[in-house]
């Protein structure tokens, strides 16, 4: 029946497994005791001046505030209480690193790669007041490099955003078709404005070629004309073709669904959109919304590379959103976005410069 099923004597397969297990167990025990006696001796190169010593009791950290340079830091955490304790580095609610089950009187090493910022550390029991761990950006430490892995989150989120906007575009065009069939000119203009806004928000994801000629360029032009105009003649020509607009929007949605827009491309689109910002209008508000989405997605990454640039971009974006006369502000924003793009473009080694 089964490998282990023969009554009485174990089957050959099981016996083999038993022998192998015994062998692995012996090897494991030997390795364990080797590691134990090896670790008992002080290791050269293991304890360096870089080590940060922290003593914890049930309710305190000693010191309660620590400042370390960004990069790799080794903490030696010693439990000076009478209870088993754990030690955690927290970023908000996120556990950055932790060590559990530290026995009274003993220490454990924790090596963490920390980005600049302010963190909390647990001190003894989790209900005790937290200590502060400040990580300073340092010039000595090489600036952190980002790789494709770091882009996965923002890229996936941007894809979801694009799908949402193409859905909004499709919904507006569907309603537009209904309004056109009912010959309701005001409603057509209204829906066209909505469709145009959705298009403006996803426009940074499109390529220059797509915007220059072809179905997507036609769609953009038709939407802009319809949304901007309220004359019956304009609308009459527009109303003739809602179905073909829907086909074009469908092609656009399919193209976007299959597209991976990396930060480099996102920011290229955002720069183009920022440069094209004209007088404040409903359309430009949507374009700015499309830029804001990209900035928000990439802000955490840029903060890690260049915190002042991230802050300046956020400030300039705010100015563009507020200011009625935003020509200078949008130029400044375009400059920020270009700088961000340079930071986030991967070089031949697959890392940021």
């Amino acid at each position: 029946m089964t490998a282990a099923a023969s009554s009485g004597k174990p089957s050959p397969a099981l016996r083999l497994a038993m022998a192998g297990t015994a062998l692995i167990l012996c090897g494991g025990v030997a390795a364990f005791f080797y590691a134990a006696q090896r670790g008992a001796k002080p290791r050269p190169g293991q304890s360096s001046a870089q080590d940060v010593a922290i003593a914890i009791t049930e309710r305190t950290c000693e010191p309660a505030q620590i400042t370390v340079p960004a990069g790799k830091t080794s903490f030696i955490v010693t439990n000076r209480s009478q209870r088993a304790l754990e030690w955690e580095i927290l970023d908000g609610v996120i556990v950055v690193e932790e060590r559990e089950n530290i026995v009274p009187g003993q220490s454990r090493r924790l090596t963490a790669q920390l980005h600049p910022g302010e963190y909390a550390m647990t001190c003894g029991l989790l209900s005790a007041p937290r200590g502060r761990l400040i990580v300073k950006a340092s010039n000595d430490a090489a600036a952190p490099k980002l790789a494709l892995m770091d882009f996965i989150g923002p890229v996936a989120e941007y894809r979801v955003y694009l799908i949402g906007q193409s859905d909004a575009l499709a919904a507006a065009l569907e309603q537009l078709r209904g309004a056109a069939e009912a010959r309701d000119i005001d409603a057509v203009a209204q829906r066209a404005a909505e469709a145009s806004a959705a298009f403006a928000r996803l426009q940074p994801a499109l390529t220059d070629d797509e915007l220059k000629a072809g179905p997507i360029a036609d769609l953009k032009l038709a939407l802009a004309n319809a949304a901007g105009s309220r004359s019956e003649a304009d609308l009459a020509t527009f109303v003739k073709s809602p179905a073909s607009l829907q086909d074009k929007a469908k092609a656009l949605a399919d193209a976007l669904a299959a597209r991976t827009v990396l930060p480099d491309a996102m920011l290229g689109g955002a720069v183009r959109a920022a440069a094209g910002l004209v007088k404040p209008s409903e359309a430009s508000a949507s374009q700015v919304a499309g830029i804001r989405k990209i900035v928000e997605l990439l802000q955490p990454l840029v903060t890690r590379l260049d915190a002042p640039l991230a802050a300046k971009t956020a400030a300039d974006l705010g100015t563009v959103e507020r200011g009625p006369d935003s020509a200078g502000a949008s130029a400044a924003l375009a400059g920020d976005l270009t700088a961000m793009r340079a930071k986030l473009t991967l070089d031949a080694s697959g890392k940021t410069p």
Partner: protein, 276 residues
Amino acid sequence: MLVPFLIMLREGIEAALIVGIIASYLARTGRSEWLPALWVGAVLACGASLAVGAGLDIVSGELPQRAQELFEACVGLIAVALLTSMVFWMRKAARSIKGELHAGIDAALSGERQGLALVGLAFLAVAREGLESVFFLLAVLQQSSGWEAPAGAALGLAGAVVVGFAIHAMGMKLNLRVFFRWTGIFILFVAAGLVANAVRALHEAGLWNGLQQIAYDIGALLPVDGPLGSVLSGFFGYQERATLGEVLAYLAFLVPTLAFFLATGRPEPKLSGARP
């Protein structure tokens, strides 16, 4: 000495409990021939944990905590799925025996696949606690000047093994119907603890950060590193302080499964009396 003892007892019980439950279950469903494979799986996990733990200690000197937490969460969820399915198999079996006791309940119920899955689970359950325990034991051994702390840890480990065999022995002694009914309820509570701790492990692995408000904190009343707290933690995943997400996950698992188990697991009424 007490602290290392309790830590190892807790970690050990977490593993021994699952192995003990699986052993009783295999024996009581007439599949004792799987038991040697089960022991092999458990011992293999010990050997593998020792080897991997020692290797990691020599290479980097540190436990990759996030990876360990992710591993714990995954194994915890696999264990929940298998334990829960076991509970409901038992319920089915309990209904089919109608008060009579016979060991070979239903050969059709016992597939080879399930046997393999259970042996695999025993391996994973031991490995899940094993790696972390090896790092703990290494730290204790390397830093202790006296014999008390290592002895305490060793005794804790031995205690956990005793608990595992005690569960197995108890499962063998119980009346079969009682076994299926009360063990089922017991296992559902164990599984609910595994669910809550999987949520915690996912948080510590950096993957789940929602619902982190503290739901309760009774550390002053029943500290998790005290004797009773450690044992409860080993068996039922007790935590002295839990987040809202953990509590919700615990209840979301326990309430429906327990209700379903109690509602349908009742012995069938005697048909002969009610309807001639």
